[in-house]
């Protein structure tokens, strides 16, 4: 469903030049669960951002469902963010003034869906938070906040879910819970690409990609992932 071909990303110029990605190619098929690992600064976030259209590559192609999207302008990308690719961040990035339910409804609001409440509640239920709908993010634990963020990403039923260290801010127990959630979502048919430092979490993926200095150093296939 998604393919990136010979992607490079260079930040800055001349003396300040940083090659964040160097000629990276990758395929994400339907139902995939890919974990991206690698040392800090190896280009993991950059890669994920380019896949999600949060950043443009310096060269190379990003092809989604047979169509190039790396050269799309803002306007056309809005549609992809609304329907196909959703993002989960390490810092959750919820709006503190809105309740869990309202945060989840936000993507529906941007899509112009007026009566999104039912759908949003349903999605909150899917992440096990139906009892916290009226809570503000500040009244929720880190794991719960991340689940709200995941519900927000899921509410428009995207086919690809991108997550940048989604468990980076929580302890192991909570991290496992979140991972379990991703695992279930993947089993239900969603493709997932996740950046993580945690080998245990990566171990659950179907494929591990190891980045090093902006290049793919290793690809490890784990048929079906570890249960």
């Amino acid at each position: 469903m998604l393919e990136i071909k010979n992607i490079s990303k260079i930040y800055g110029k001349e003396i300040a030049k940083v090659v964040a990605l160097n000629n990276v190619s990758l395929r994400v098929n339907e139902g995939d669960f890919i974990a991206i690992m690698g040392p800090s600064g190896s280009g993991k976030s950059t890669l994920l951002n380019i896949i999600g259209g949060l950043e443009y590559p310096s060269s190379g192609e990003v092809i989604l469902d047979g169509k190039r999207i790396d050269n799309l302008d803002e306007k056309d990308f809005v549609d992809i963010r609304r329907r196909k690719i959703a993002y989960v961040f390490q810092q959750y990035h919820l709006f503190p003034s809105l309740t869990a339910l309202e945060n989840v409804m936000l993507p529906l609001t941007f899509c112009g869906t007026e009566k999104g409440e039912e759908k949003a509640l349903e999605t909150l239920k899917e992440v096990g938070l139906e009892g916290r709908a009226e809570h503000k993010p500040s009244q929720l634990s880190g794991g719960e906040q991340q689940r709200v963020a995941i519900a927000r990403a899921l509410v428009n039923s995207p086919s690809l879910l991108l997550a940048d260290e989604p468990t980076g801010n929580m302890d192991q127990k909570m991290g496992r819970e979140i991972l379990g959630l991703f695992y279930r979502l993947n089993k239900d048919g969603r493709s997932i690409v996740m950046v993580t430092h945690n080998p245990e979490i990566a171990g659950h993926a179907k494929e591990i990609i190891v980045l090093q200095d902006g290049q793919i150093a290793d690809k490890i296939s784990q048929k079906g992932g570890r249960q």
Binding site: G52, K75, V78, R81, S97, L106, E114, A153
Partner: protein, 396 residues
């Protein structure tokens, strides 16, 4: 949930921050409203004082007084020339005055137009005290002194009656019905005037014929007050026409006197208006500044909104709604604060002038505040919405 509903929810839960963002609007609008309200109060007081002059023109005997002085040193005044005006000049004065008003206003109708009130001032000894007695034409004087209120008794009706100023009545313990001798002629006190705060409080008003007879001044008047009864009447032209055609008198338009007397107040007022203009500019600048800062502080929010599917249009719209709410709230608060400020500061500037709130400033306050808030928000928001999501997270 619609976009504006989300903005309203968001804003009502971030009251403090929104209030902070609107501080600039409030201060700007408050200063402008305060300055304009004070300026208007000043102007109203100038106009009402002009109104109090009653007459638009004064006719006096020519060269009645000369200021005597050496260099800048005043040695008092010296009366020179004829001290009274012959009464038979009155019809001529009326003819000139009414004629010029007719011409200026295109009036065809016959009959008297201007109020022409002759006066004869004499000093009289009443109950052993020296008092200024003013002989007046009761009808014309009544039309001229619109602010007169008779507190006790009634207005002048018959020749042998007197209307007494408030202070005289108090000092000499006059009551309605008391009889007083005016140079041997006995008259009755018909009424006592309410205090006016002018020298009228120290005078006794008696029909002019009575005064002329009692003091042997038949056919003479001291001065003539003319009220043209229209603000656009050519008083200066009338004055020069009278001066040119009638020898022995000197006519002055009160406007000319008032202008110098009111000059100071006018200057303060003009200064305030200039201040209002500057405030407007500074206020707008302040608003633009705070609002731009608040947009900038929310770059990350803009990134998140984009990441979850907001278009640039929607982001601009969100800030537009916010600007409207901030503008209306800030305009309202600013109007109230500015009016309060005017009530406190106004009397200090214009010496006890009565400041009153100006409802006509309310709507413009809201409109101006909203307009400035929109300009100050939407443009930076439009620019900020260009940012790449990844960069917006890094910006903090």
């Amino acid at each position: 949930m619609r976009l504006y509903q989300m903005v309203v929810k968001d804003i009502t839960r971030r009251k403090k921050r929104v209030l902070y963002a609107s501080v600039g609007v409030v201060i700007g609008v408050a200063t402008i409203v305060a300055v304009l309200t004070i300026a208007l109060a000043g102007e109203t007081s100038i106009n009402s004082q002009l109104e109090k002059y009653g007459a638009n023109l004064m006719v006096m005997p020519a060269i009645s007084n000369i200021d005597v002085g050496l260099g800048g040193l005043s040695l008092g005044t010296l009366a020179v020339g004829e001290n009274r005006i012959p009464e038979d000049k009155l019809p001529e004065i009326r003819e000139i005055t009414d004629g010029l008003i007719r011409e200026a206003r295109g009036i065809k109708a016959e009959g008297n137009i201007a109020t022409i009130a002759p006066k004869l001032y004499v000093n009289a000894e009443i109950n052993g005290t020296s008092v200024v007695v003013a002989g007046v034409d009761p009808q014309e004087e009544h039309k001229l002194k619109t602010w007169w209120r008779v507190s006790k008794g009634r207005y002048l009706q018959t020749p042998d009656e007197a209307l007494v100023g408030a202070t005289v009545a108090e000092l000499l313990k006059f009551n309605v019905g008391d009889r007083i001798a005016l140079n041997g002629r006995e008259i009755t006190i018909a009424g006592i005037l309410e205090e006016t705060g002018s020298n009228e409080d120290y005078q006794v008003f008696v029909p002019i014929e009575t005064v002329q007879e009692a003091f042997d001044k038949e056919g003479l008047v001291s001065s003539i007050d003319i009220r043209a009864l229209c603000s656009a009447c050519p008083t200066t032209e009338i004055a020069s026409a009278i001066n040119g055609k009638i020898p022995g008198v000197r006519a002055v338009a009160v406007k000319q006197i008032a202008e110098t007397e009111m000059g100071m107040l006018e200057k303060i007022n003009r200064f305030l208006l200039a201040l209002a203009g500057i405030t407007l500019a500074v206020g707008c600048f302040g608003v633009v500044n705070t609002m731009m800062t608040s947009v900038h502080e929310r770059i990350k929010d803009i990134g998140i909104m984009k990441a979850v599917g907001a278009s640039r249009n929607q982001i601009v719209k969100i800030f537009l709604y916010e600007a409207i709410i901030i503008g209306v709230a800030g305009g309202f608060l600013g109007y109230v604060a500015g009016t309060l400020l005017a009530y406190i500061v106004g009397p200090l500037i214009f010496g006890g002038v009565a400041v009153s709130y100006v409802p006509q400033y309310f709507l413009p306050s809201l409109v101006l505040a909203t307009f400035v808030a929109i300009i100050a928000t939407v443009y930076p928001a439009f620019r900020a919405s260009k940012i790449k999501v990844a960069d917006s997270f890094r910006s903090l």
